[in-house]
Amino acid sequence: MHNYHLIEFKNVSKTFDTTEALSNINLYVDENEFLTLLGPSGCGKSTLLRIIAGFELPTEGQLLFEGQDLTVIPPYKRKVNTVFQKYALFPHLNVYDNIAFGMRIQKKTEKEIEYEVGRVLELVNLKGFDKRSVDSLSGGQQQRIAIARAIVNKPHVLLLDEPLAALDLKLRKDMQIELKNMQRELGVTFIYVTHDQEEALSMSDTIVVMNEGKIQQIGAPCDIYNEPKNAFVADFIGESNIIDGVMLENYKARFSGHTFQCLDKGFAEGEPVDVVVRPEDVDIVPVNNGMLSGNVTQVTFMGVHNEIIVDIGGFKWMIQTTDSVNVGERIGISLDPDAIHIMKKSEYSGMFGDYSSYSNELDELSDPGREE
């Protein structure tokens, strides 16, 4: 084993004109990892990817690749390939010539090219599409060709820039599974950029949550979900109720006028904290048995569960439950110690986790969409 990481960012910053896109990024990626850069539009995740590809130079800092300084090496000399957001297939070339593009530059023999193109077309389930023009393909098919065109060059790292953003929901789900399988089969490192937290959770080995040019948290999907570091991460990954609280002592937190048992320790006595409760971890109980109680203000049927908003002492909680409750009903809630996660106060405290202005529709409208 060698003693370096496949890719390593050392204190990388990037400034466009006057705006800082990345600030002091330190990050490493290991071989065979499926790493996802996750964050809202404008968080710097695409810039990070473009620095690896070589399309952007860092303003400060260093990028190491297999232990070598890669910072100023032009894109065409890097052992990475990119799958672009809108595929960027060459419209003047057919499927075969698109895939052969990289190998022709490397001056591979036509026989070799023919073999390799056939091999990757089979891998992406588009055997027999060689002679088709790329304009005649559906979005999903173009996506596969874009992947084939990149992996046929046997890159050490495959960069994927929101590759599924333009596909419809069902196709996106299928492609998620396929991409994950492909990554295992090929044994290639994938660095995947997305703003879709579900996509990130279901595919990644490691998730890097970013906001405003800074890394907020690095970790495995379940760690990120269960142990978010701050209010931003808690809110961005899944739904969260984030309540102001105080740590009384180890394993004891007080919020919403009640003292709860929890599993967290290591805070100062009386330290103000952010308390995260996931909507699915809240148990609905009769009012008399509840630790807290409140009025149901909204019920939305979501298929698998009901999503309800409960007003508890003026703070609106979101609860996901399979019980049926009605608007106006008074309910009690109970929280197990492992349903509670305590976070230190951060710059994001108080910005997220209250559902008083919640609406599904609004959420959809403000979806960051694709990042340019």
Binding site: P75, Y76, A88, H92, F101, I105, A150
Partner: protein, 294 residues
């Protein structure tokens, strides 16, 4: 569900096209019919192919440099000369215009606007005035020769040479080459260039494998728009060539002024047919081999 009615071609479109239809009928179609009619009739408006045959058979005596006199097919020679000068001008326009169009398309939006304006400004000036300006610049005692003399290279004889005619044509038709190429290049997706670099292309590779093939429809339309007016131009050759380089346009004008309307029409008709065939060939090959060339 109720289907929306497709916009009726006879309705909305037909009416909005009326002014142009009337215009083109009156000033394009009818005159063309007249040209064809005159080309195939004699002075008494009886059918004849004599005008057409005259174009291909008329001869005149030309005195060569060494004093020998030879017979040449007058109009065929004139036509070939027109074609040669037009082809040279087109190539020069392309060689100068292509890199310029590329640089413009990659410039910042404000610089792009300024460059387009700079290229268009000469087109705001009257064609005759532009040509006269070139006469003063290129004549033996003109600005160009003054500069050449100053740096110890001149004077050179330019006015009255084919070079002068080519300079005039290039100057007049240059925007028609740059603008279509520029327009297609601004529409290219920058991501395609990035994809090419990502797959191993250096800058030249991107140009050769992506930019050039995608710009071909613009190049073809630029060639069309420069070659065709330069083949049929007449004024530039008279003024800058001192009338020594009779072009096909001059021949038509000359016959017209001499009141040989039928023969003038015949030359115009033949020129038109040749250009049509040429354009048809370009279109055919573009549709077959060029992406976006339908």
């Amino acid at each position: 569900m109720k289907k929306t009615e497709p916009i009726s071609r006879k309705g909305g479109f037909g009416i909005s096209l009326m002014p142009y239809s009337a215009w083109s009928l009156l000033f394009v179609i009818v005159p063309l019919i007249f040209v064809a009619y005159y080309a195939f009739t004699d002075d008494n408006f009886r059918f004849t192919t004599e005008n057409i045959t005259r174009f291909f058979t008329a001869t005149s005596a030309v005195e060569g440099d060494n004093g020998t006199v030879s017979e040449v097919k007058t109009y065929v020679v004139i036509f070939m000369r027109s074609l040669k000068l037009a082809a040279i001008s087109t190539v020069i326009c392309l060689v100068m215009g292509y890199p310029l169009a590329y640089i413009m398309s990659r410039a910042k939006p404000r610089a792009q606007k300024m460059l387009v304006t700079l290229i268009m400004i000469p087109m705001w000036m009257n064609f005759l005035i532009r040509t006269y300006a070139w006469m003063t610049i290129l004549q033996d005692t003109g600005i160009f020769n003054s500069i050449l003399s100053c740096v110890g290279l001149g004077p050179a004889r330019i006015i009255g040479t084919e070079t002068a005619v080519v300079i005039g044509m290039v100057y007049d038709y240059f925007p028609y080459m740059v603008l279509p190429i520029y327009s297609i290049m601004t529409k290219m997706d920058v991501k395609l260039f990035e994809a090419a670099r990502d797959l191993g292309c250096n800058s030249f590779g991107v140009l050769k494998r992506v930019i050039f093939p995608l710009s071909l429809p613009g190049v073809l339309s630029g060639i069309n728009m420069v070659l065709i007016p330069s083949v049929s131009t007449f004024y530039i050759s008279q003024k800058l060539g001192n009338g020594k380089f009779f072009l096909i346009g001059d021949a038509i004008e000359g016959q017209y002024i001499a009141n040989n309307l039928h023969f003038a029409a015949a030359i115009a008709f033949i020129l038109m047919v040749i250009l049509l065939v040429f354009m048809g060939l370009i279109k055919y090959f573009a549709a077959k081999f060029v992406y976006g060339g339908e």
